[in-house]
Every structure is written in structure tokens, then in C-alpha cells.
């Protein structure tokens, strides 16, 4: 009962630690550099917004949401990306993603994803490369992500890709599978702590698995990666547990959240297989955010009908 909003934000940050640690382990110190720049930018931006509103500089930082947004942006961006990109992403996230709508609770789109998507379309080259995880790769070299490699493989079968490109591990990319597993562990903890609603990750991952299963025909030249590959690649787990579950931007009721999660799952798979981008989590979340009010309207009416029938 003493769970306050700042404490909820703190718990989210805590549950991100395993994933952040795994990310640093596999992708290098650049992850921490991103985090530092992001957090400092967040402090400055929120203080400026507070001043513009005639409030004390720390007023908007009190609720803790700005820190979470900064951390999510930092973890979504590749380490080694220019600092200006990190700064821009966080600034856009907090200003365009949150401040212009009136602050915490009033934004329709997930702020971290707004910031990330903005720099993704503005600096596509900078965001396409992550530290090379291939065996024998030189320290400091960068390469395309496994999702990217799979998308641009030409006519090769999945098995060919797996043996040729050395960045592939047991189920997904080397490093990526561990990072996703770490986010999964943190995410399950977040759900058990009753901070994140279980319905969203379950429906999102379930739908993604379903579509990936349908689209995977044992690895021919046309197929799209196995379900486990999709689950443990890219931003799947980070998105499922820490981004899609943002309560401000998802429907408020149970049925709506199941629909919302399912929609993200479908969109992630569709964007990964059919769009120009290798990973579709950010856009999927933003599109689902846009649909959230309509989903809420439909499912809330459904609930009123049930309640009316009962009385």
C-alpha cells in the first residue's frame, strides 16, 4: 500500500539491471557511456521544462519517469553511437514524447520509443551497427545485427546463414540471446512484483511466436527465422516487458491489454519480415500506442455491457 509512483519507477530501473549488465558484458563499455549521457540529458531537459512551467527545477524529476525513459533510450541505442545521437534521442523523447502533451500521464506515445524512432529515421546508418559478436572478430569492430543479416541474406537458407555468419549462437545471435534472456529474467521479476501487467508480454510474445511459427518453414530460403530466434533477438524481451507495459500508453483494462499486446506481436513480426527495418519493436509499439484509445473504447464498452447484463 505504500507503493508510490516514484517507487514503481525505481523498481522498473532495478529490473533493467540484468539486461543492462548483459548488454555491457557483450557489447562493451559503450552501453554505460550511453547511460551516463542519457541520464544527464534527462536531468537537464526536465529541469528546463520545469523552469518553463514556472516550477522548481527538480519538480518533474520527482516522479522518476524521466530516469526510466533515459535508461530505456540508452539501452535501445547501439553502444558507440555518437553522443549527440544519444542526446538528441533523449531530448526528443522527453520533449516531443512527453512535455508537449502535458507531462507524465498525458502522453499518448511511449516517450522512449518516440525518441528512438526519431533518431532511427534521422541517423539510420549510425543505428544499424552494433559491436561485432562474431567469433574471432576484432575488438572494436562493428557489424550488422543478426536480424539484419537474416533480412538481407538473399537466397540463402537459414541453415546456410547460421553456419556462414559467425555472429550466430545457439538460438539467436551471440550475445543477443543472453541479453534477451537477461531482460526476460528482469521482466518476469517485474511482473511478479505486480508492476507490469502480465497480459501484455504474454500476449505479445505469444502472438509473435504464433506468427513466427507460421512463417518459419524449417529454414528454407524464403522463411523468416524460427520462433525462438525472434523471441531472443533484437529488442523483443526489452520491448515486451519494459516498453509495451508502460501503463500510460496502453489500454487501462485487462481485455484491452491482451489485444494491445497481441497487436504489438503481430506488428513486430510483420515489420521484421516485410518492412525495410530489421527490427520492428519501436514502430510496433508506437503504432499500438496510436490504436490504444480505440482498443480501450471498444473493450471498455464490452465491459460495461457485461456489468449491465449482470445487474
Amino acid at each position: 500500500m505504500t507503493r508510490t509512483t516514484p517507487r514503481i519507477m525505481a523498481l522498473v530501473a532495478l529490473c533493467l539491471v540484468p539486461g543492462a549488465a548483459a548488454s555491457t558484458l557483450f557489447f562493451g563499455i559503450g552501453v554505460l557511456a550511453n547511460l551516463v549521457v542519457a541520464v544527464l540529458t534527462a536531468a537537464a531537459v526536465e529541469a528546463a521544462v520545469a523552469r518553463a512551467r514556472g516550477q522548481a527545477p527538480g519538480a518533474l524529476l520527482r516522479d522518476g519517469s524521466a530516469w526510466v525513459t533515459a535508461v530505456l533510450v540508452a539501452l535501445a541505442l547501439p553502444p558507440g553511437v555518437p553522443m549527440t545521437v544519444v542526446l538528441t534521442a533523449v531530448a526528443i523523447a522527453l520533449l516531443v514524447g512527453k512535455a508537449v502533451y502535458g507531462g507524465l500521464g498525458a502522453n499518448p506515445f511511449n516517450p522512449a520509443m518516440v525518441g528512438y524512432a526519431a533518431v532511427l529515421v534521422s541517423f539510420p546508418a549510425a543505428l544499424a551497427v552494433w559491436p561485432d559478436q562474431a567469433l574471432g572478430a576484432v575488438d572494436g569492430s562493428t557489424a550488422a545485427t543478426p536480424l539484419d543479416v537474416l533480412k538481407h541474406r538473399g537466397g540463402a537458407t537459414v541453415a546456410d546463414v547460421w553456419s556462414a555468419a559467425n555472429g550466430f549462437g545457439s538460438v539467436a545471435g551471440i550475445g543477443w540471446e543472453w541479453v534477451n534472456a537477461a531482460y526476460l529474467a528482469g521482466g518476469v521479476a517485474l511482473v511478479c512484483l505486480r508492476v507490469a501487467d502480465w497480459r501484455i508480454p504474454v500476449s505479445m510474445l505469444g502472438t509473435l511466436t504464433l506468427f513466427a511459427t507460421i512463417g518459419y518453414d524449417a529454414g528454407s530460403s524464403d522463411s523468416h527465422g524460427s520462433p525462438t530466434f525472434h523471441l531472443f533477438s533484437g529488442a523483443t524481451m526489452l520491448g515486451a516487458f519494459f516498453i509495451a507495459t508502460d501503463p500510460v500508453t496502453c489500454p487501462p483494462d485487462a481485455r484491452g491489454r491482451l489485444l494491445f499486446g497481441a497487436l504489438i506481436g503481430v506488428l513486430v513480426w510483420t515489420l521484421r519480415t516485410a518492412s525495410a527495418y530489421p527490427d520492428g519493436v519501436a514502430f510496433a509499439v508506437l503504432l499500438a500506442n496510436a490504436a490504444a484509445p480505440l482498443i480501450a473504447h471498444v473493450t471498455a464498452r464490452a465491459r460495461a455491457r457485461d456489468a449491465g447484463a449482470a445487474s
Partner: protein
Amino acid sequence: MRMAPSDFPGGIAVPEDKAHRDVPPRELPLPDRLRLPLESRGRTLALTTARGAHVLRGTIVATDAYGTPLHAPTSGRILGTEHDGAPWLVLECDGRDAAAETAAHGAARSFEDFVAAVRDAGIVGMGGGGYPLHRKLVQARAAGVHTLVVNAVECEPGLTADETLLRTRPHRIGDAIDALCTALGGIRAVVAIDPRKRAAIAALEAARPDLDLVAVPPRYPAGAERVLVTLLTHAPLGDSERPVARGLVVVNAATLDAVGEWLATGAPVTRRLVAVCGPGLRAQGTAWVRIGHVVRDVIAAFGVDAEEASRLTLRDGGVVSGRTISHDAGIARTTLGLHATTAAVPDALPCIRCGRCAEVCPERLAPQILHAHATEQRLRGLVDAGLDACIECGACDLVCPSRIPLLTEFRAGKRAVLAQRTAEALADTARRRVAAHEQRAQETAASAEARRRARLAARLGPPAR
């Protein structure tokens, strides 16, 4: 003791905070003056006495719109009325506590006589609602209820008045139950109680083993009337339905104790047991106080000096669903208890739409949607989102991580909606009156015109052709 046949949606398990439940109730000495509340259920009572009048204990000093009297709780002199946001009648106590003559409760009488006697005893709902018991009985009889439900749940944290009455005077309550059941045509009775009130349950079972005790889930707000109906039947009440629609009449345990006291002594309501509790107090417990006993004096009797008292926020009725009460207010028949806190109210953060409030709402409302409407002052939105169904339990308030004062917002919203509805009704009446007046004016003019034409025709004869 059996379990309730059904469960209710939402609700939240909260700490009882009733460690003081076994403390014997105190009898507070008569103060120098009493402040009798002249407002009941939003309406001002009509005075039946005047400044300077000498009254005895039991003299009627005011009545409500239903004819329910308010009695002087002790003998003394009426000093006059005061208004500090609420109307008060100030009585200077002479210390003799002389009583007016009371007619002893005679043998079995007709239902109408019984109801009139209950009315004249000034018994109103003492579980906080204040609805006159005689009216409730008339409605119950007319609806043909089959069960009297004794509400002994007292789910509000800190409050122990009802349970102390059950523990110390179970026979009074038992006799009252018998009398009401007989008056309503020999219906059966059920006592709904929280299973954690062990001493009270034991006392009641020992005194009246024939009574049907039902344990409710130990969750707040199991003691709310509408929630109780859901628990006992399997059919929750519709938005505008009352318990009589399910054949139930629900009466609070303290109200029954007042009935029992009246049955035994013939005396009207002049006092009640209030709980005095909360983290702001060192000593907690219950106290018998006269109606009108000033709050400041009540907590002073529990060892709170003036300086400490200035730092306390007092709530009438508990920390969850109570309302802030001024230190200068007088205890009403509906005052359940005084809850004292020193904590400052934290600033509210914006709603993060976590949905926790909807999880605990026993009426299946979405408080976050109501909150969105309330902040924008959208009265139509509030009504459409179900504000009328809100039972003001405050469970949503308890769980909100942003510490938004939801209960305060919804109470203000209800007041605003009521004000608008009243204004609309008045405007509607005025509009109809104007339309009727215009119609009559037109008819009068038309008939005058017709008469004029007829006279003219008669004088001139038929038109030349």
C-alpha cells in the same frame, strides 16, 4: 458461524489497526456545553425550541423533514444557534442531567404505533448514513422483506465502536433484533460480521446462540451496504436499487443498540459510543459521549492537550472513507469515530493509468476515467462513467501510487452534479410555468376576441349581402 454465500468484486485487504479493540469503553463526564448538529443528510433541521429555553434530557429541540426529532442530550439552557459552515444548536449544561418523563415501552403494539414510537425516539442510522429508522421500517414492510441483516462488519480500519457494543451489550442488540423482526412480520435475522472480531463473536454467540452469524471476507469494504447485499445474495444491486429490492433490510449494529436501549428504558437517543483512534493518539479506545459533545473535549479526555491537538487532523469515520471534522464540531448521531493523524497530505502526482484503482473498486467502476473527467470538470462525463454508482468507500484512494485524492474528487463531483441537476430541475419547472402562462394568455386573448366579435355581430345584425 457460516461463511457468506458469495464474494464481492474488487476490495482490498488492509491492516485492521484495531489493537485497542479490547479496551473497555470510557464514560466521558458531562462537558459545560454541547454543540448539537442541526444538519442531517444535507438538510437543516427545523428548530422546536428557542434561545433561553430550559430543557431536560429528552426534550425535543429540532425535527427533520420526516418528523424525526432530535432530543436534548442533557438538561440545561439553550444558548442559541451558531453557524461556522454548519448549523449548531448550543446547549449550556447545568450538570444536573435531569430527565424528561419517558413512557415505558408497552406491550405489543401495531406496526404503525411501533414505527411512530421508533420515530419519536429519534433513532436514525448510526452507521454513518443517518437515515431515519422509522422510514426504513415502513419501506421494508411495504416491500415485503424477508430478512433483517445486522451490519456488524465495521470494516473501516481503526473503528471499534460496533464491535465494542456487541462485546459488552449483546443482549441489548439481541432484543432489538427480536423487536424489529416481530414488527416486520416475523422475518428472520442474519448478523454479518468480520471473522476477526473474535471477542465480539464469542459474546454474541454466548448471549444469543440462536442468532445466525455470517462471516464476511476480511476485505475492505465488506461492510458497505451494497457490498453486503452482493455477499449475501448472489445478485449485486443495480445502480438505483435498494436492499429491499432483494428482500433485505440492512441495519447497523449501533442503530440496533440504540433501539435496544430505548426498548429497555423508553429513553430517546441522547448518546452514542464513538471510537477514538489513529496513529496521532497515544491512547486509543471507545467512549460513550452525548450527542453534541465537542470533538476537542473528546480527544482531550484521551490525553491530548491543546498544543498536540493543533497538529492533529481528525476524521469522522475513519482514515479511508471518513471526512475531515473540525475540532469544534459536535458529535452527531452518525459519528462513528474520530481518527487522528499527524501526517501531512503528500502532493499528488499525475495519474499514470496503472489501473490499480479499477482492480479494487467494488462497484466495478474505472476511477481513473472518473478522475480524468473530474479534473476537466466534465459533469456529463462523470455521470456517464458511473459516478452515481460510486459508494464512496475510498478503496481506490488507498491504492493510488500517485496519491491522488480520488475520494475527495468524487465527493466534490457528486456535489457539482447534484447542484446542476437541481438547477436544471428548477429551470425546467420555470420553463413549463412560462409556457403554461403564455398558453393561458393566448387562450384568454382568443376567447376575449371571440366574445368581442360575437357582440359586434349581435349589434350590427347579419352582414349585408
